[in-house]
């Protein structure tokens, strides 16, 4: 079963909140290997996490 981009986007988000099962991870990898859009999406999700973490650092610097 091939995941759609919609399913992948949801799974990428959940991957930031829980440990995905091995089957989910395998299907995700399979899709990401052939899909640039979802690969960019995943990078952007990782970036979003870093950005909010850095926002906290920013708060400290403003003091």
């Amino acid at each position: 079963m091939i995941l759609s981009c919609k399913e992948v986007s949801r799974l990428v988000s959940q991957g930031l909140d829980r440990r995905l099962g091995w089957l989910e991870r395998a299907r995700l990898r399979l899709h990401l290997a052939i899909c640039d859009g979802c690969t960019n999406f995943k990078k952007q999700m990782d970036f979003l996490r870093r950005a909010v973490a850095r926002l906290q650092e920013e708060l400290k610097e403003r003091t």
């Binding site: 986007s9 949801r10 990078k43 979003l48 950005a51």
Partner: protein, 181 residues
Amino acid sequence: MNDFRSRLETERPYLLRFASLQLRDPHAAEDAVQETLVAALAGEASFQGRANLRTWLTGILKHKIVDAIRRLSREATVVPLETDDLDAFFVDNGHWVDPPGAWADPGASLEQKRFFAALEACLARLPQKIAQAFMMREHLGLDTGEICKELAITPTHCWVLLYRARMALRECLEKEWFKSK
């Protein structure tokens, strides 16, 4: 004013900014900070020997913020569990309508003050409940189990809220920052 109390006071502006990122209601944010400083003053003995006052205070503040969220969420609105509205991003077979393109050098954005203004503006545009769940996860660093418990929702609902938040933030940052740079 004794020395410890005046050291606490100097941290107030920072604590208020920290709380305001999570709590949109300015009174709730001020209350959480006030409760934190009162608790800190009472607990001065337990601070002794710890290296960093701000880190210690932030730890107390996180608990006070969660208390406030618990109080506020009793009167909060319910967010639909379905993600039908997110269908707008996808065509019927589940492909992207507009596949995400690569962002140019996102790491460099993290060095720019203006980027964080854009990020805060995008956060402010999120619907309240969605923003709340997202910031509990990313700002307070709670896991989804704790978020579910505090907001009295199921894990599935929690993941949907976080998914919605991230989809909306991605879209907003792309428009407001990466494409308008």
